[in-house]
């Protein structure tokens, strides 16, 4: 059940048998959450770390005008709040998009695993780093790309993120998002999202069928949106052999 998590962490760090074992016992409480349901709201004290095992969720804020801004989409294997559990209260909401299977991990368990499993700890750092890198890329998207490129960019990103955790095949992946969800994360109107999706369909780049999205020509869609996968730091886009953190290696050896 934790396959998505293990796959994701292993795309950052090689994990031992003991690490796998520790991750398997990490998920004591799994629950099913319906679509469009808050896992935690702004202002609430976060008790547990939420891990998405199945389904899609998002990080969002509601503006005084009632406008929603989505800051992140969360897919299987994503921690909703790996670090925010240190906070006294949430500064944003986390809610499901589709029905989700969610693990509530007590903060004590995270403390324990980070104290005893340096490779997992390092993989957790990678998760946090990539979350930030995705957020940076979304900023670039909103500030620097045209509406149709923004959406195409998001579609490429979702494909790669879902491929990494085994939730995409033949360039097809579940797409439970409404046009309003895309609009609220891209700073666009639903009308513009609707037009762009139509345009991408008409160009033969994508098909949307039964809540599944297929990208027909990934390279073309990447070129169209100026997509470079480097910020996702996936195994095949990195230089893991050359990468090292000397002080951490020393700390582990001591």
């Amino acid at each position: 059940m934790q396959d998505a998590l293990i796959r994701k962490l292993e795309s950052y760090e090689a994990l031992s048998k003991q690490d796998h074992e520790a991750l398997r016992v990490l998920v004591p409480k799994i629950r099913q959450v319906g679509p469009r349901t808050d896992l935690i709201s702004e202002g609430e004290p976060p008790e547990n770390v939420h891990l998405i095992l199945e389904g899609f969720a998002c990080r969002y804020k509601i503006l005084p005008s009632g406008q929603r801004q989505i800051m992140a989409f969360l897919v299987p294997g994503d921690f909703c709040d790996l670090n925010v559990f240190i906070l006294d209260q949430m500064d944003h909401c986390i809610g499901t998009i589709s029905a989700c299977q969610v693990a509530d991990i007590p903060r004590r368990a995270i403390d324990e695993i980070t104290a005893n499993h340096p490779h997992i700890t390092r993989a957790f750092w990678w998760c946090a780093l990539v979350d930030e890198a995705v957020l940076r890329e979304w900023l670039v998207n909103v500030g620097g790309r045209q509406a149709n490129q923004r959406i195409a960019h998001l579609l490429c990103e979702l494909l790669l993120r879902l491929q990494a955790v085994g939730y995409a095949s033949d360039n097809t992946y579940p797409f439970p998002f409404k046009q309003a969800d895309i609009a609220d994360c891209m700073g666009l109107s639903e009308v513009h999202v609707n037009r762009t999706i139509r345009e991408l369909r008409a160009l033969g780049l994508i098909t949307l069928k039964q809540r599944h999205l297929t990208i027909h020509n990934v390279e073309e869609l990447k070129a169209f949106s100026g997509f470079t996968a480097n910020y996702l730091h996936l195994k095949n886009a990195r230089w893991s052999e050359r990468r090292s953190v000397p002080w951490l290696v020393r700390a582990q050896g001591s």
């Binding site: 005084p64 005008s65 009632g66 406008q67 609009a183 700073g187 666009l188 109107s189 639903e190 009308v191 609707n194 037009r195 139509r198 345009e199």
Partner: protein, 94 residues
């Protein structure tokens, strides 16, 4: 109550074709007291439920960057726009 803030803004609509890179091309220039404040476009190629509605394709001045849901009719759009053009309107989104 009479007062300077209760003077109605004169909103005039002028038909115009708009290139939206889609088949939504029937539009209206919205002039408020003689100044261009917005361009409305009638949705034609959208989802069924949106078809025929009027969308603020572009706004200028205080209407800039507003994300407003499409209006059912041109009258609804005009009423809302007139409301926004009142000098004392602060919260511009409804």
């Amino acid at each position: 109550m009479a007062g300077p803030h209760n003077v109605e803004t004169l909103v005039v609509l002028q038909p115009i074709a708009v290139d939206t890179d889609s088949s939504d091309c029937k539009g209206m220039l919205v002039l408020a007291n003689g100044m261009l404040v917005a361009v409305l476009v009638q949705l034609n190629h959208s989802e069924e439920k949106q078809k025929g509605r009027w969308f603020i394709e572009a706004g200028f001045g205080r209407l800039r960057d507003l994300r407003q849901r499409p209006f059912d009719t041109l009258d609804d759009a005009t009423r809302w726009l007139r409301q926004q053009m009142k000098p004392n309107v602060v919260n511009r989104q409804s």
